[in-house]
């Protein structure tokens, strides 16, 4: 499909059906895609919510500050505490006999009675040959997920869609498998009394950090991974050495910077699911013992990739090159430590020699795509991210970054997910969305948009245009990609659509810097 056709497609479908309720997934909220009708309802609706939200937020704000503190908090609470009851989002994991395994807030043992109640509800419905999925109680949704002998429950008043909350429970279960594999089921089969909490000892931060990522990491609902922006040559250099070690008996070789991929390589026929990468990276980054940079920098740990094989362990050699950049070498052999240590040495030599590590640090400083840098149309020639990234200290660069109120046509932010690459790219936040609260709100809005676009009952949809008092949101889904864009709430619809087309063109122009392209000479 050519770009002209794409452009024609989005324009046509939005203009042909300017107020088609069918293209909006927001059933029950006016159900209209048009800019005006239905908005009155929404404004009134919102005011009520904001009032109550302020009250509820007081508790969560008082302890969240701006930076997130890892690990378990509010251990002194239980289901009788008012503060516990007011928390907006609870997660529980329990066994099929009602024994608590994990609770986001409060002490598991003090919540044993609550946990028993949850089990009673789930099992009662199950004994009738049915299964419970969702209970709505006022502002709260109670979402259930049964995974054999393990029950997961979310109780939320955040207004996230059911599909999102359920997806989050799936990830929590996946994280548990990363640590223990599905062979845990056998223990329950033999002994329903089985208590798995000792096996999860010391992993609270892994779960709390995963739960935290639900509000800042779009990979948790896009089911795609994201790459650190790097020049094509730099990424190639990293890929080449990873390929080299993969050929000597490594199943997966992954080089990452925080939650972004620098490069990754798999043995022939082995492929890595984005959810596995998310859970693996979360496990490694949240476990303090892996991070002891250059003291005991290397680690070797059994690890399960639930989407690859949920019932067995792989072994991961993990080494941090600096505070942000780490190498993970996955193998099936439990005695491969010395071999992998040797591989790491080879990788490190090459990365230093080809200055990949310093490029990585540079990219971290510069960030990725800034909406202010969206090339003006008519588009001429090829553009590079590097126009502002390298040389990084041109005076323009700073001017742009500081005045960043948004891009053309009021564009504030976008996320682009390439379907066949399983990757997404997300723009940097402009100053209009610079607090964690604002960013969380935008992600929640995207999440809702994602869920409505993928709604099996009324979807799938191609486009959605939505305006409320916070944003104009535009979503465009094709066979090849999904684009989510947020604009100033006063943005003009026609120019917003035009801008989305520019964004897609821009991404195409810089794709070999923002994505890991498989069609390299080192293809696997």
């Amino acid at each position: 499909m050519t770009d002209e056709e794409r452009e024609g497609e989005i324009r046509a479908s939005l203009e042909d059906a300017p107020s088609s309720p069918g293209s909006s997934g927001y059933a029950g909220e006016g159900g209209s895609t048009s800019a005006t009708s239905g908005s009155q309802f929404e404004i009134q609706h919102q005011e009520i919510e904001d009032d109550t939200r302020i009250e509820i937020d007081r508790i969560s704000l008082s302890d969240s500050h701006t930076s997130w503190i890892p690990g378990k908090r509010h251990l002194d609470e239980d289901d009788a505490s008012i503060s516990w009851r007011k928390r907006k989002k609870h997660f529980f994991v329990l066994s099929h006999s009602g024994k608590p395994i994990y609770s986001r807030y409060g002490d598991e043992h003090r919540l044993a009675g609550f946990s028993a109640t949850l089990q009673a509800i789930i099992s009662f419905v199950e004994s009738g040959g049915d299964s419970i999925k969702l209970v709505r109680a006022g502002r709260h949704q109670v979402v259930f997920l049964v995974k054999g002998p393990i029950y997961l429950v979310c109780i939320s008043s955040t207004e996230e869609p059911y599909e999102s909350l359920r997806g989050q429970l799936e990830l929590i279960y996946g994280q548990m498998l990363v640590i223990l594999t599905r062979s845990i089921n056998r223990c329950f089969e033999k002994n329903p009394k089985f208590d798995m909490t000792p096996l999860l000892g010391g992993t609270e931060t892994v779960f709390s950090s995963l739960i935290h990522s639900f509000s800042w990491n779009p990979a948790t609902f896009l089911h795609a991974y994201t790459c650190l922006p790097l020049s094509y040559a730099t990424r190639q250099a990293a890929g080449a050495i990873l390929q080299d070690v993969a050929d000597s008996g490594v199943l997966f070789a992954i080089l990452m910077c925080r939650h972004k991929v620098i490069s990754l390589v798999g043995a022939q026929k082995a492929s890595l699911h984005p959810d596995d990468m998310l859970l693996l990276a979360n496990f490694v980054m949240s476990s303090e013992s892996f991070r002891q940079v250059k003291l005991t920098s290397e680690s070797f740990s059994p690890i399960c990739l639930p989407r690859y094989n949920p019932s067995a362990f792989l072994y991961a050699y993990i080494d941090y090159f600096d505070a942000d950049t780490y190498l993970m070498l996955l193998t099936t052999s439990s005695d491969a430590f010395y071999n992998l240590k040797d591989c790491r040495f080879r990788v490190e030599m090459v990365l230093l020699k080809s200055s990949v590590l310093s490029e990585v640090q540079r990219s971290l400083l510069n960030g990725g795509m800034h909406v202010e840098d969206l090339p003006p149309l008519p588009h001429s020639g090829s553009s590079h991210l590097g126009q502002h990234m390298l040389p990084s200290d041109s005076p323009d660069r700073f001017k742009e970054a500081n005045s960043g109120i948004g891009g053309p046509a009021g564009l504030w932010h976008f996320m682009y997910r390439s379907i066949y690459l399983d990757q997404y790219v997300s723009s940097e936040f402009p100053s209009s969305i610079n607090t964690p609260q604002q960013q969380k709100r935008l992600y929640r809005a995207y999440q809702k948009l994602f869920a409505s676009m993928h709604d099996k009952g009324i979807g799938p949809h191609k486009t959605q245009f939505r305006r409320d008092e916070n944003y104009v949101l535009l979503c465009w889904v094709t066979q090849d990609f999904e684009l989510y864009a947020a604009f100033d709430p006063l943005a003009d619809k026609a120019s917003a659509i035009k801008t989305c087309n520019h964004v897609c063109q821009w991404i195409k122009d810089v794709e070999n810097e923002i994505f890991l392209l498989g069609a390299s000479p080192f293809s696997w």
Partner: protein
């Protein structure tokens, strides 16, 4: 993070309606008693921390409804219990006779791995009533039944006066703890790539 291992024990209380299951639990957990009868609907859940031989553990007490109409709650409720407490009223022969049914029902539903040695505790409640004059089940008779079922520990209590309640639950905790000790060994597998084709995930491969 203190990684001291804590144990959670699931304790199920069974018995006819009105024998004082909820009162026993309230006396034990909250040190309270009420003369007013309030039927339990389905089940009530209470938690109590107990210290036993320098170890701290949590009792998760499942107080079930005695009425027959709630017995459909079955398997779900009994699954994974560490101890089962059978309660009767020493002033009611029928409640004593039914202990056998409750015990059988529990063993069928919970299907513990070693039914012969599953820890039960029997409690004869309401010994305070009428100064013991309206009592119809003798201690001897009760103890004989307990002996015939594999020496089930037996306690006579008054939930109202708080007599023997603490002792009974101490024994419940001790027995539950004993049964919890033989834990399943967790033996995970390692992937053998050469052996079979792995389940394939999407993407990444070009």
């Amino acid at each position: 993070m203190p990684s001291r291992r804590r144990t959670l024990l699931k304790v199920i209380i069974l018995g006819d309606s009105g024998v004082g299951k909820t009162s026993l639990m309230n006396q034990y957990v909250n040190k309270k008693f009420s003369n007013q009868y309030k039927a339990t609907i389905g089940a009530d859940f209470l938690t109590k921390e107990v210290q036993f031989e320098d170890r701290l553990f949590t009792l998760q007490i499942w107080d079930t409804a005695g009425q027959e109409r709630f017995q459909s709650l079955g398997v779900a409720f009994y699954r994974g219990a560490d101890c089962c407490v059978l309660v009767y009223d020493v002033n009611s022969m029928k409640s004593f006779d039914n202990l056998n049914n409750w015990r059988e029902e529990f063993l069928i539903q919970a299907s513990p791995s070693d039914p012969e040695n599953f820890p039960f505790v029997v409690i004869g409640n309401k010994i305070d009533i009428d100064g013991g004059n309206s009592r119809v089940v003798s201690e001897k008779k009760a103890r004989a039944w307990c002996a015939s079922k594999g020496n089930i520990p037996y306690f006579e209590t008054s939930a109202k006066e708080g007599i023997n309640v603490e002792e009974a639950f101490q024994c419940i905790a001790k027995n539950a703890l004993k049964s919890g000790e033989e834990e399943e060994l967790y033996l995970p597998d390692t992937i053998d790539v050469g052996n079979s084709s792995q389940p394939r995930a999407t993407g990444c491969e070009c």
